[in-house]
C-alpha cells in the first residue's frame, strides 16, 4: 500500500512537471483518491479517431506497480479491441504482459498506439473486428469516424 502510494505520488509529480511533454496525453489524479486517475488522450492523426478526445478511467490496485492498473474507455469508441458497451480494453500489457516498469503515462501511450494499430485477430468488438478482417477498411474507418464525431468531439454550437 505504502509502496504503491509512493510510486503513484512520484508519477503524479512527474506528470505535474512534464505537463507539456506529451501534448496528446493529459493525466489527472482524482482529487481525493490517488488510486483513481483519469486521462484525456487525443486520437492519433491519420486514423479515424483523429480530432477526437477520449477519456480513460484508471483504477490502480494496491499491489501496483507489481499488478497492472485497470483501464477502460469512458468515451464510446468503435475499435476492435475495446468493448463497445463497457469500454474494456484488450491489451496484453494490461493483462499478462504487464511489467512494473510501465507507468500510467506509458500505458496511455500504449493505448494510443493500439488506437492506431487495431489488432483485429483478438477482438472485443466483433463487428469492428469482422469489418477489418474481411478487408472492409473503408467500412471500419467510416464507422469509427462516425462514433468519434458523435462521442469524442465537442459539440459545435
Amino acid at each position: 500500500m505504502q509502496a504503491s502510494r509512493a510510486r503513484l505520488f512520484k508519477e503524479y509529480k512527474e506528470v505535474q512537471r512534464e505537463k507539456t511533454a506529451d501534448p496528446d496525453i493529459q493525466l489527472v489524479c482524482d482529487d481525493s483518491n490517488i488510486f483513481k486517475w483519469t486521462a484525456l488522450v487525443k486520437g492519433p492523426s491519420e486514423t479515424p479517431y483523429d480530432g477526437g478526445v477520449f477519456q480513460l478511467a484508471f483504477s490502480v490496485p494496491e499491489q501496483y506497480p507489481l499488478q497492472p492498473p485497470q483501464v477502460r474507455f469512458l468515451t464510446k469508441i468503435f475499435h476492435p479491441n475495446v468493448h463497445f458497451k463497457t469500454g474494456e480494453i484488450c491489451l496484453d500489457i494490461l493483462k499478462n504482459a504487464w511489467s512494473p516498469a510501465w507507468t500510467l503515462q506509458s500505458v496511455c501511450r500504449a493505448i494510443i498506439a493500439l488506437m492506431a494499430h487495431p489488432e483485429a485477430d483478438s477482438p472485443l468488438n466483433c463487428d469492428s473486428g469482422n469489418l477489418l478482417r474481411s478487408g472492409d477498411i473503408r467500412g471500419y474507418q467510416s464507422m469509427a469516424r462516425m462514433y468519434t464525431r458523435l462521442a469524442a468531439m465537442p459539440k459545435k454550437g
Binding site: R7, L66, N81, C90, K95, P100, C126, R133, S134
Partner: protein, 591 residues
C-alpha cells in the same frame, strides 16, 4: 566434481536453500553439519551408484523407473551438467535453456547448434553481460526512487532496480505460479531471462523454497517422459520409456496406475473410455456441472479454463501457454485471414453441424436420457470398486494377522498357506478388471448386439467365478480360522480355493484378452458365438450382465480338459476337482 555432486544431492533433498546456494555457484562445498542427513543420503547414494539395481526392486518391468526426489534432482543436475559442458555456458543458463525446451537435452543441442543467436533471443540469454550503469546513485526502474549503486541490482542486461522492487517483482511472479521459471527482466523492452542466480540473490526465503519446488516440478511435469505418481501424498515420479508397450506402472508406494492417463490401472479398458467414464461419474456432481457449464478444458493441457472476460483469443496460463479460440478450441494460429477470417468462427459452425463440437452439451443430454442405464453401470462399477477396497484391506489383514493365526490353528507352515494370499491377490485384481468392464459396457454401442452379448457373457462368467472365489476366500476360510483345532477338511479347502483361483484367473484372462481385441473374436470363432448365443437363449440371460448368473453358465467345450495340476474342471459349474473325484464336489454332477 562427482563428489561435489553427491554432497549437493544430499542437501538438495531436504534443504532446498543450501542446495542452490552451492549448486549454482558451482563452487564451494559446504560443511554437512547435520550428520543424520549424511547417513540418510549415503544410503540413497549407494543406491544411485548402481542405479539399475537400486530401483530395480520397485520395477517388475524395465520400461519404467521410479524416481524419488533425490533421483529427480540428480537427473535434473545431470541434464544441466551435460548442456553446460557441451555448450560451454554457465549452469544457470543451461537450466534456463533446458526449462524452455522441456528438459530435452537433445532438443536443446539441436536448436542451439542450428541457430545459437535465435535460441538466445527466444530464451532471453544475452551474449554479453551488460553491467549496471556507472554512477554513485541510480534510479530504480520500478519505484523511481534514487539509491546508492550498491543497493541496486540488474540481470545480465544491466537494467537497474532496487532490492525491494526486485523482491516484489520476483515474489509476484512466484505467487502467480510456475510461470516464474520463465521470468524476464522487468524492463518492458528487455527480454533478458532471470535465472536461479538472481532468485537466489534477491528473493526471500519462502519464495526461494517455492521456486525450487517449481524447478523440480518443472523437470517432472514438462518432461515428456516423466510423471508424478498420482497417489495422494506420494512424492515419487515415474520415468517411462515412451513407446515401450504397456502403460501399467506400479509406483514405489505400491500404487498402480496407467502412465498414459494417470488414472489407476484400467487394463483392458482403454484410456479414452476411462476418462469419459470418470468425467461422467463426476458430471453427476454439482461441481462438475458447474465446470462443464462455465469452463472448457484447454485443448492442450486439459486444465479447465473459466472465461470471465475478454476476447475469444485465449492464452492458457504458463507453462502451457497454448493459444486457442474459445469458440472452436482450435489453435489460434489456424485463425485469421487463412481461414476466411470472420470472427463468427466458421470452424465452430461446421463443427456444430457435424455434431462434433458440443461434447459437453451432448454428454449432459445423454445423462438425462439414459440416467437409468447409467445408474445400472455405475452401481456395479462402484460396488466392485468398494469391494476391491475391502478385499485389499482383507488381504492386508490376512498377511499381517490371520495367516499366522491360521497357521497355528491348522498346524500348517505359513509357507503352505500361500494359496490364500494368491486367492486374495486374484480377487483384488479381478475386482479391478471387473469394475472397468462396467465402464466398457456402458460405452459399448447398443446396436452391436453380437458384441454386447459376447461381452456380457464373458463378463457374467468372470463375475460369477469371482463371486464364488470371493465367497470361498471370505466365508469358508472364516470357518477354519474360528475352528478349535486342525480340521481334516482343510486340505480339501486348499484344493478348492486354489482351483477357484485358477479358474477365475482363466475367466478373467479370457475377458481381458477379448476386450483388448475389441471383441473381434465375436465373428471369428464359432465356439465363442455359439457360447454367446446359447447364453442368450438360456433364459433370463440379459440380467447376466448383472453377473449373478450362478449356475446358468453355459458349458465350455474346453471344460473336459484336465489342467497341468491334474485337476478337472466341472462341466456345469467349472469347479476344479481333484483328479480322483468322480463327481463334482461343488454341484455333485457326475464327471
Amino acid at each position: 566434481m562427482a563428489s561435489e555432486d553427491e554432497l549437493m544431492m544430499q542437501d538438495a533433498t531436504d534443504d532446498g536453500e543450501s542446495f542452490d546456494d552451492d549448486f549454482y555457484s558451482g563452487g564451494d562445498v559446504h560443511d554437512d553439519s547435520d550428520d543424520d542427513d549424511v547417513m540418510d543420503y549415503d544410503f540413497i547414494d549407494n543406491d544411485s551408484d548402481d542405479s539399475d539395481t537400486v530401483i530395480a526392486h520397485h520395477r517388475s518391468q524395465s520400461n519404467y523407473s521410479i524416481l524419488n526426489e533425490a533421483d529427480i534432482h540428480k537427473c535434473q543436475e545431470e541434464s544441466i551438467t551435460k548442456i553446460s559442458t557441451v555448450l560451454s555456458i554457465p549452469r544457470v543458463a543451461a537450466g534456463i535453456l533446458l526449462r524452455h525446451y522441456n528438459w530435452s537435452v537433445s532438443k536443446v543441442n539441436d536448436e542451439w547448434f542450428a541457430d545459437e543467436g535465435k535460441v538466445r533471443r527466444i530464451v532471453g540469454l544475452l551474449e554479453n553481460h551488460v553491467p549496471v550503469p556507472d554512477g554513485e546513485e541510480l534510479t530504480c526502474g520500478i519505484c523511481f526512487d534514487v539509491f546508492p549503486r550498491k543497493e541496486i541490482s540488474g540481470a545480465a542486461c544491466g537494467h537497474p532496480f532496487c532490492f525491494t522492487c526486485w523482491q516484489g517483482y520476483i515474489s509476484t511472479a512466484i505467487t502467480d505460479g510456475p510461470g516464474c521459471l520463465m521470468l524476464r527482466c522487468p524492463d518492458p523492452s528487455c527480454s533478458a531471462a532471470i535465472g536461479l542466480d538472481m532468485i537466489k540473490k534477491l528473493a526471500n526465503d519462502d519464495d526461494k523454497k517455492k521456486y525450487d519446488r517449481y524447478f523440480i516440478r518443472s523437470f517432472v511435469e514438462d518432461n515428456r517422459k516423466t510423471k508424478w505418481c498420482p497417489a495422494p501424498g506420494c512424492d515419487y515420479a515415474v520415468d517411462y520409456i515412451v513407446g515401450s508397450g504397456s502403460y501399467d506402472v506400479t509406483c514405489g508406494c505400491s500404487y498402480s496406475f496407467c502412465w498414459n492417463c494417470t488414472e489407476e490401472t484400467h487394463r483392458p479398458v482403454d484410456c479414452g473410455t476411462v476418462s469419459k467414464w470418470i468425467l461422467k461419474n463426476s458430471a453427476e456432481s454439482e461441481n462438475m456441472n458447474w465446470i462443464l457449464a462455465n469452463s472448457k478444458p484447454c485443448p492442450k493441457c486439459k486444465r479447465p479454463i473459466e472465461k470471465n472476460q475478454g476476447c475469444m483469443h485465449i492464452t492458457c496460463t504458463p507453462p502451457c501457454k497454448f493459444e486457442f479460440c474459445w469458440l472452436c478450441l482450435g489453435p489460434w494460429t489456424d485463425h485469421g485471414e487463412r481461414t476466411g477470417g470472420f470472427y463468427a468462427c466458421n470452424r465452430y459452425e461446421s463443427a456444430k453441424q457435424d455434431g462434433v463440437f458440443d461434447e459437453s452439451e451432448k454428454r449432459r443430454e445423454m445423462a438425462k436420457n439414459s440416467l437409468e442405464r447409467y445408474t445400472h453401470y455405475y452401481e456395479r462399477w462402484a460396488t466392485n470398486q468398494s469391494s476391491r477396497q475391502k478385499a485389499l484391506s482383507d488381504l492386508q489383514q490376512m498377511q499381517t494377522v490371520h495367516l499366522e493365526k491360521l497357521s497355528d490353528k491348522q498346524c500348517q507352515p505359513e509357507s503352505q498357506l500361500k494359496f490364500i494370499i494368491e486367492a486374495w491377490l486374484q480377487i483384488v485384481e479381478c475386482r479391478r478388471v471387473l469394475k472397468w468392464t462396467y465402464a466398457y459396457g456402458y460405452y459399448l454401442p447398443e446396436h452391436e448386439h453380437a458384441k454386447r452379448q459376447f461381452f456380457e457373457y464373458l463378463q457374467g462368467e468372470a463375475e460369477s467365478g469371482l463371486e464364488r472365489l470371493h465367497q470361498c476366500a471370505e466365508k469358508e476360510l472364516q470357518g477354519y480360522l474360528d475352528a478349535e483345532g486342525p480340521s481334516k477338511e482343510f486340505n480339501e479347502f486348499r484344493t478348492k480355493l486354489a482351483g477357484l483361483t485358477s479358474v477365475t484367473r482363466n475367466y478373467f484372462e479370457n475377458l481381458v484378452r477379448a476386450l483388448e481385441n475389441g471383441l473381434s473374436d465375436v465373428d471369428g470363432h464359432g465356439a465363442y458365438s455359439r457360447a454367446a448365443s446359447s447364453k442368450s437363449l438360456g433364459g433370463g440371460s440379459i440380467k447376466g450382465k448383472g453377473g449373478r448368473g450362478k449356475g446358468t453358465t453355459s458349458r465350455s467345450s474346453s471344460s473336459r480338459n484336465i489342467d497341468d495340476s491334474g485337476h478337472w474342471s466341472c462341466e456345469y459349474c467349472t469347479y476344479a476337482n481333484v483328479r480322483s473325484a468322480t463327481a463334482c464336489q461343488m454341484c455333485q454332477q457326475r464327471r
